[in-house]
């Protein structure tokens, strides 16, 4: 047992092992003050099968840990003849199952060495970016205390092509430092005539505690089971996860024999697992898979986070991640101008939330005239315009799982058009020039209309430029109004198909198009006043079929 802190817990666990019939040899880090060490040793004085071995200075990633392990192993094999398996543990390890179950488990596998041991090329866990080079470079500087020198020295060695020679052509292996080896294998390593050479080599390897035994066991073991019996999870920086009281159930269900690291003050864990066993002895295999999954998720949360979430501990650089919102949404420009009942029609056809102009100058036109929506997001234009992108990311985040659609128009000047254009989650459909339809229908003075038309055309032209920029990542469709009205059902169908599986049926009902008789003439009048509307495409002054008097269109069926 390697111990350097929380000695009271180490004592407790050592007693537990020893009481169950397992002799314990403890290595106490030489950094621990003499007085503390003495008190600790004295406290365990009455445990007959607990011993203390020679102390070495242990610093993370250095030889001291291996030296300590070697001393402890030698003492264990020399003083306790009956020992068949030696289990390397630490002061913050906690046995999760009755010790007898572990004894039985090992007795049933008398020749098996449990040691995670993989060649460097086969493992992804090389935090710090060093794998092979752990063995071929020199590391005179502490990674923890002198990171700068450590890195520079590595760079220098790479540059000059320095390489250490690996003795006897052994094949370096790495793995968890917590192993369980048979007397046979362990004594073979300890008594190897070449051991001095190996020790000299590994003394200068980086993190030798993850490679010394892992490599040498390969020379002697006839039966390596390459896994650790100790449940030990590491975060993405290679730091061990710590287990707390609330992990009790999780640890129980894992069926692992030993777990680390345990928070020293996790009283429920120590009390719960160090009790005398009750109930029948189980012979189940350890099953860390469930814990693995949960911890893999945690790594993802830390490195990738929840997409589209902006909060106090997640605020990505602009453009740093693929999706800047948390879900897909659809933006329609011109549709509610061209079709009289577009919003209710879309809601019915797709079952999504269909808002009006969210960025209308008057207010955010939420679906069904709501004044406030999920997350207490209000329709106040001042609050919205204070941070228009946050308004959108909030809306999309607050309604996770429910697709949002909204209308956009050239008059919605505060809409974060760049942001939307760059968002791959946005599906943008534009019928350009359709803003002219409400003008055409309105009962305003022509001079005002002309001015408004000029303004809107300018604004929309700007918007289209953004949408068509090379940086745009949204799914974009743009039609001129003239194009669109020639065959409106086809584009509508493809937009809706793209929105999701729930609408994989043919549209049967079309939205009701505004009556456009006289629209061509209206555009011509604008032209005659010197304002040339071009965004809607070409409308003949009196196209056949459009300009003829007829009753207003009714919804029609598409065969």
């Amino acid at each position: 047992m390697l111990v350097h802190t929380a000695l009271d817990r180490a004592e407790q666990v050592a007693r537990h092992w020893s009481a169950a019939g397992c002799p314990v040899v403890i290595h106490v880090d030489a950094h621990v003050p003499r007085k503390t060490y003495k008190a600790f040793a004295k406290a365990l004085g009455n445990a007959p099968t607990v011993r203390f071995c020679q102390r070495h200075k242990c610093e993370w990633g250095t030889w001291g840990l291996v030296a300590g392990t070697l001393s402890a192993s030698e003492m264990m094999l020399a003083e306790f003849d009956e020992v068949r398996h030696v289990y390397l543990s630490s002061g913050s390890c906690l046995p999760l199952r009755p010790v007898q179950e572990l004894i039985d488990y090992l007795a049933a596998r008398p020749q098996t060495d449990f040691i995670e041991s993989a060649t460097t090329s086969d493992v992804p866990w090389t935090v710090g970016g060093l794998s092979d080079e752990r063995f071929t470079l020199r590391f005179p500087f502490s990674w923890k205390r002198h990171r700068y020198l450590f890195d520079k020295y590595v760079d220098l060695q790479r540059k000059v092509g320095f390489k250490r020679k690996i003795p006897n052509g052994i094949q370096p292996h790495m793995g968890s430092q917590w192993w369980c080896l048979t007397r046979q294998t362990l004594s073979a390593i300890l008594e190897d005539p070449e051991r001095d050479r190996y020790d000299a080599f590994f003394q200068k390897v980086w993190i030798p505690d993850e490679s010394y035994f892992q490599t040498l066991a390969r020379l002697y073991s006839g039966n390596i089971e390459s896994r650790s019996l100790t449940l030990s999870k590491f975060d993405f920086q290679g730091k061990p996860h710590i287990f707390y009281d609330d992990h009790l159930q999780l640890l129980r269900r894992s069926d692992c024999f030993v777990a680390r690291k345990i928070w020293p003050r996790a009283n429920r864990l120590y009390d719960g697992f160090l009790r005398d066993p009750e109930g029948a002895i189980k012979m189940t295999e350890p099953n860390p898979a469930k814990i693995d999954r949960i911890f893999a998720k945690a790594v993802e949360r830390r490195t990738r986070g929840r997409q589209g979430l902006y909060m106090q501990s997640r605020f990505p650089h602009e453009g740093f991640e693929h999706s800047i919102t948390s879900g897909r949404y659809s933006v329609f420009q011109g549709f509610s101008d061209l079709f009289e009942d577009f919003e209710p029609w879309l809601a019915k056809a797709t079952g999504t939330q269909v808002h009006g102009h969210l960025y209308s100058p008057e207010r955010a036109e939420f679906a069904r005239e709501q004044k406030v929506v999920n997350g207490a997001l209000t329709d106040s234009p001042a609050l919205r315009d204070y941070n228009p992108t946050a308004f959108l990311t909030n809306l999309i985040w607050n309604t996770r799982g429910e697709r949002q659609c909204f209308q956009l128009g050239p008059a919605d000047e505060t809409a974060p058009i760049w942001f939307i254009a760059k968002d791959p989650n946005a599906q943008i459909s534009v019928i350009s020039g359709a803003w002219a339809v409400p003008l055409f229908k309105s009962n305003r003075n022509f001079a005002d209309l002309r001015q408004e038309a000029a303004r809107l055309q300018k604004l929309e032209a700007e918007q289209l430029k953004v949408l068509r920029s090379v940086w745009a990542k949204a799914r974009l469709r743009i039609w001129t109004m003239a194009e669109f009205i020639e065959a409106p059902m086809e584009p509508l169908q493809s937009i809706i198909d793209e929105m999701g599986p729930h609408s994989l049926r043919r549209l049967t009902e079309a939205p009701k198009m505004a009556d456009l008789s006289g629209f061509g003439q209206f555009l011509q009048n604008l032209k005659n006043q010197g304002m040339h509307p071009y965004l809607m495409g070409d409308f003949p002054v009196s196209p056949p079929g459009l300009n003829q008097p007829k009753s207003p269109r009714k919804p029609y069926l598409v065969q």
Partner: protein, 296 residues
């Protein structure tokens, strides 16, 4: 040792729960500056075995809202300790706070080499007109202030301190609809492994050196963070607002807040049909108001 630090004035109503909650989290000693209280706050604090109390009758405003007093005390006494700096109307919570004491969090932060832990202020409010439900000292304030706004916060990154500036929530929605820029700042860095060279700049909203403000991931991941449940809207807020109107001792521009206090005195109902009922930290974590980071 984990320390608590606060400046307060007339907080007799909130103090019992405030102390009890943070003691339970594992704050071992409190450094408190009391400013001209006349409701028994001073006497109550003087009686507490784990409170070191300083009193001042000087101007709160001139001491940069108590921060100068506190900074000096922290230079003298908090060096090398994790220190939780709070207002009396803030209840600190963080992921797993109900099963893991602060020492578990600070130990983990130490292991990660992180020196500060951010927590956004979450304005809690009652349903119904303000001041209608009476709060008893010692009571859990979230029994009355059970509601909050979950998704209307806006964030910008501020230079040169590189802190996030978070605004929004119920106060922006109800009081600053017209002037959102004036809405209160919600970002805070309340828990810091203190060094005598550090200094809070503006309440605990910002801190120097500025790397301590950079407690958010910029590359898409999530750091761990907590929440300060803000209990401003207890029934006492009505009296306090009247007082503040007279005292005019609030931050930066006192006149600016007159309207705000006047609205408060009129006992508005802050609740709306999209308010969220507080269910605990797991809910706040799922909503993305706080994060576990990799602390599982």
């Amino acid at each position: 040792m984990i320390l608590g630090a606060a400046t307060m004035r007339n907080e007799m109503v909130r103090l019992p729960f405030f102390l009890e909650h943070h003691r339970k989290l594992g704050v071992e000693h409190f450094l408190i500056v009391e400013n001209a209280s006349d409701d028994g706050t001073r006497e109550f604090l003087a009686d507490q075995p784990d409170v070191s109390l300083w009193s001042s009758k000087r101007s709160y405003k001139k001491s940069r809202f108590g921060l100068d007093w506190l900074t000096w005390l922290m230079i003298k006494h908090a060096h090398g300790h994790w220190c939780l700096t709070l207002d009396a109307d803030e209840i600190m919570i963080y992921p797993y706070w109900d099963t893991r004491p602060l020492a578990a969090l600070t130990g983990w932060l130490d292991g990660q080499g992180i020196e500060a832990f951010p927590a956004m202020m979450l304005d809690m409010y009652p349903k119904g007109p303000l001041g209608e439900q009476r709060y008893e000292p010692g009571q859990d304030p979230t029994e009355i202030l059970s509601w909050f706004d979950s998704g209307n916060y806006v964030i910008q990154r501020q230079m040169p301190m590189e802190n996030l500036w978070i605004q929004g929530g119920v106060r922006a929605r109800c009081f600053f609809e017209r002037k959102p820029r004036r809405a209160p700042t919600l970002n805070k860095v309340p828990l810091v492994k203190w060094n005598r060279r550090y200094v809070y700049v503006n309440s605990t909203h910002g801190i120097l050196p500025r790397r301590l403000n950079r407690m958010y991931d910029r590359e898409g991941g999530e750091f761990a963070s907590g929440i300060l449940l803000h209990t401003k809207f207890l029934d006492t807020v009505i009296e306090k607002s009247k007082e503040e109107l007279e005292r005019r001792e609030h931050f930066a521009n006192s006149a600016l807040y007159d309207d705000y206090y006047k609205t408060l005195i009129a006992q508005p109902d802050l609740w709306c049909e999209r308010s969220s009922r507080y269910l605990g930290w797991r809910q706040l974590e799922a909503m993305g108001l706080m994060s576990r980071g990799t602390w599982l």
